[in-house]
Amino acid sequence: MNNPLTFTFALALGDDALIAAQRLAEWATRAPEMEEDIALANIALDQLGAARLLLSYAGELEGAGRDEDALAFLRDDREFRNCLLVELPNGDFAMTMAKLLVLSAYQLPLYTALAGCADERLAAIGGKARKESAYHLDHAALWVKRLGDGTEESHRRMQAGIDQVWPYAHELFVAQPQAPVDPATLRGEFDDTVSAVLAEATLTVPESGWAPGGGRDGVHTEDLSYLLAEMQVLHRAHPGARW
């Protein structure tokens, strides 16, 4: 392998996007209103687009002949490098918006930094994906404000959603000084973005405490296994099948 560090990095980002896409797609036909159904499917499609570019590149860097499909459909849970945040079950709509807020507030500065990194392929992917991430962040922020500053019940559920996903944000920013972009350098912008949204939403930034991790090392929750079973079953049952 030419560049194992860049491979691991591209794989982790690709897996984040792929698993996020799969979770968001679970909302199709189940969202609270039709506009939101379309929105979540569109955001899922953007995530899938980024995942395809990142996983294709990871496959090329690995040099073992694995393409995007082999990486997406033929790996087991311990080989996935996504953060735990994206594999968490969707919960209610408020929790899904809390997850999307945290994910997009992380992906936007990440892709923006990537756009200026030395690796040409990653820079191109970052330059493209950051525009889409900005729109995802806007969308999540709108809902978090609307629900947080809404009724007593919507406020309660929005705060509960934020409280539930907050511990999982820690893993996103664990330092990787040798990576094309060190995630630790993104934490400041993330905190500023999220605190501003939560303040406007009359929500409280949770205390930092429990900080689960392990996703980047392939140690996942059992939720990922069920997600992969559904995502991979068709490809594994009919290897090489094409539309």
Binding site: A39, G49, L53, A124, K128, E132, Y135
Partner: protein
């Protein structure tokens, strides 16, 4: 001795790259069938290797996950084959990232004529921040409102005109 012309309907002596460019530029966007990939700025370049006759068509997606890309690639091959180009490579690039600013004036006019409000110029960091009203493509009124931030394709949002009450698609500035 010059390279023999590949068989096809192409006139002898016609510059190959111009015929290839014309054929590629005429490919219609499969999801917004009133505009071509040249109108939208998806078509970036058409080059022919004079030694081999191989035509390289370079395209870029509007959104990373745009599901129309496979159809666009296939349509380019069909169009070019019909114009006599047998050896065609379609390359996809992602940098520089596509912008709605690349949509031509002709493309904008065709979108508006089909009831799709074209995008405003992407806001640069100028002195005066300003948001232009989205005009209704049917009656021209600026009294419009966004119904849904996402629409029937990745590149569109759904709007409604307060003057004539008609809903319409708006190509989001990107």
């Amino acid at each position: 001795m010059p390279t023999p012309e590949p068989a096809g309907e192409r006139d002898a002596g016609e510059p190959a790259v111009s015929s290839a460019r014309e054929a590629a530029a005429a490919v219609v966007d499969p999801e917004i069938r009133v505009v071509t990939i040249a109108d939208l700025g998806i078509l970036r370049d058409v080059e022919e290797d004079p030694a081999t006759g191989r035509v390289v068509v370079t395209i870029t997606p509007t959104y990373t996950g745009c599901p129309a890309m496979d159809v666009i690639r296939a349509d380019i091959r069909h169009r070019l084959a019909a114009a006599g180009h047998r050896d065609v490579e379609v390359r996809t690039v992602h940098s520089p990232a596509w912008s709605t600013d690349w949509i031509s004036d002709a493309g904008r006019a065709k979108l508006a004529a089909a009831g799709i409000a074209p995008p405003a110029p992407v806001r640069r960091d100028g002195v005066v921040p300003l948001t232009l009203a989205v005009r209704c493509p049917r009656c021209g009124s600026p009294e419009t409102a966004q119904l849904s931030r996402f629409g029937s394709t990745a590149c569109k949002a759904l709007w409604r005109c307060r003057a004539c009450s008609e809903p319409f698609d708006h190509l989001k500035a990107l």
